[in-house]
Symmetry: C2
Subunit: 377 residues, 2 copies
């Protein structure tokens, strides 16, 4: 396989696992958090800043890069790694999620999806073959199968048809991949909240022998209990020697819950998006930096954090930058938040090594105040 | 004096000079370009990025910092250096320019200026004493006297009165300075385009023995010829053993013209402002990065530049970042443009050492295309 997963250790009291993934661009430990670089840049950050926080793999969005600057342009630049100056691993999604969340007026057929551009309204068409062609042009290390991501809730009848079509699309994606020796491909388990559909989806995908398996169709508005139930049911259906990726999840609480249920990989725009609006994730929970209480607070954002922001700047200065609409504030909070989640996965791995994952999970729930909060970040 | 200027070499064929300034926060060579950090940050950049391009002194704006976060807050943080995490030299303006360019409904009396906040309309008052108090709170290395900066054109009669009032204000600024051992103070020569008023202003200020002399009231819309005429007339009236600072000038052509006429220090928002709108200053002249011609141009922005942007990214990538509204584009062009001007002053100093300043000036005019251009950047 292009993507190698090594299971290093299984937790004795949960489904959590410590592992190691090797891609054509490097080896890293799991569980891992991937920062999102939608448009060939993790918003506001440079490569060096990501490397300094030990970011090992980032995500690029197929739909956005296809629209701007175009996948053929990126191919002619030598691929996405070279275009954006990132030498470590890259995972690309299939565009499916954006088609179903951003685009307008879509028409789904067996062949693919016709839809309109989310901004300019131009008519577009994505199919398994087209999605893989774009991802081949981008040259990511890990590609995703083109899938339908139905909303929550969806009826059993609709999901049943959708899951089967997504399975047929998955088979077409495998055939379409022209770079079998350099780009891995993950299948995506769908099926909504219905266990028998998840089971059917997982079993059929496993037969196709993908490089890894994503769990899709979660984090789309369903209650936390359903997400956890589906995860606990689904991961045991997946092979132990392949990575498992929960798409679009990145809050501290949800990462811990999913690791407990056997997930290895995470991505989310949450850390960078809330950073740009002035919210930080810290060892003491959420900090809304514009709040008056930080006006003359000359201590770091997070005393227990060793990121560039916390080593060099105070809450009072960060608050000033946000009050004054200075971009540096968005940069510094983005660094901090991405570092927080990468460090969280590091702490998870350490706890797994020390056989204390469940205790560690409790500690983070306590320190972050997740029990007192209706939100999980 | 708090600020020490050492005249290293005078050009034999122009008024250009090579010098060295020492402030409480460091020593640097002149001519020097100062990046503008209006709101306690050079927009989009960190300290490390400025240091990497050998930025030795930056400018902070008294008016903006007084409004947000407030000078007393910065004082309680330990001063502006500590607040913004900048250990090298800082120059602050007096707020006078902003009062006359940004503020609304001003009322000038002998005591000072009453005006309204440029955004929220709150009533504000600045006087020589108040401006120096704010600058003392900020703790800059070099402070400016509070002056009136009249528009171009102004009548001789108006300027005559204004120059005399600004001289009386200068005397009050000297008295008001509570940190005579740690913060230097520059007088500001005014007088518009009228040589006898400039002479009067310069002579009276020189009698007061300031740490250095600014040339104000230029770059406010007057033709280039008038700016050059006033400079050539004014700098010989200033002592040779003190630095001369032309306020608000930062285009490559204007810097060269002013160095030729004996100026040592420059500041301007130009490099960072045009960068945020996608315009770069390069060894081949202006580059408007969004232009279609750069879509598939995989060469650096400026082949002769060694800045972080040019070492790591291509024009095609920069263009994509601007087309996609990604902040990293603004960062990278800001780095490049500030580096361009700092490097330009380095090249000027080298040419002065080699007795070829006028030839060098011609070369830059040629390479930048300043002869073919109606703009000087």
């Amino acid at each position: 396989m292009v993507i190698n997963y090594k299971l290093v250790k299984e937790d004795s009291r949960s489904m959590a696992r410590l592992g190691q993934i090797t891609t054509p661009h490097g080896t890293f430990e799991t569980p891992v958090f991937m920062a999102v670089g939608t448009q060939a840049t993790v918003k506001t950050l440079t490569k060096e800043e990501l490397e300094a926080m030990d970011s090992q793999i980032i995500l690029g969005n197929t739909y956005h890069l296809w629209c701007q600057p175009g996948s053929e342009l990126i191919k002619s630049a030598g691929g996405l790694h070279k275009f954006m100056n990132w030498e470590r691993s890259i995972l690309t999604d299939s565009g499916g999620f954006q088609v179903f969340s951003l685009a307008k007026l879509r028409d789904i057929t067996e062949e693919g999806v016709t839809f309109k551009h989310h901004k300019n309204g131009a008519k577009l068409f994505l199919s398994p073959e087209q999605s893989i062609k774009i991802q081949n042009d981008l040259g990511s290390d890990i590609m995703m199968c083109f899938d339908e991501c139905p909303p929550y809730p969806s009826t059993y009848e609709y999901l049943q048809k959708s899951v089967d079509r997504t399975l047929r699309w998955a088979a077409r994606c495998q055939i379409a991949n022209k770079n079998k020796n350099t780009q891995g491909l993950f299948g995506i388990v769908q099926g909504g909240e219905y266990c028998d559909l998840r089971k059917h989806s997982a079993e059929e995908l496993v037969k196709m022998n993908f490089d890894g398996y994503s769990i899709g169709g979660l984090s789309v508005g369903e209650p936390k209990e359903i997400q956890n139930k589906v995860l606990a049911f689904t991961t045991p259906l997946l092979p132990k020697d392949k990575p498992r990726y929960l798409m679009g999840v990145g809050s501290p609480g949800a990462i811990l819950d999913a690791v407990e249920r056997g997930v290895d990989m995470f991505d989310c725009v949450l850390p960078t998006r809330i950073a740009r609006h002035g919210t930080a994730m810290t060892h003491n929970g959420r900090v809304i930096i514009k709040n008056k209480e930080y006006e003359a607070d000359f201590t770091p954002l997070d005393e227990q954090c060793d990121c560039y922001c916390c080593r060099n700047y105070t809450k009072a200065y960060l608050r000033h930058l946000f009050k004054a609409n200075e971009m540096l504030g968005q940069r510094l909070l983005s660094i901090h938040n991405v570092n927080y989640l990468i460090t969280l996965t590091k702490r998870i791995r350490q706890a797994l090594k020390e056989d204390r994952f469940l205790e560690f999970k409790e500690e983070v729930y306590q320190e972050y105040g997740l029990y007192d909060n209706d939100k999980d970040f």
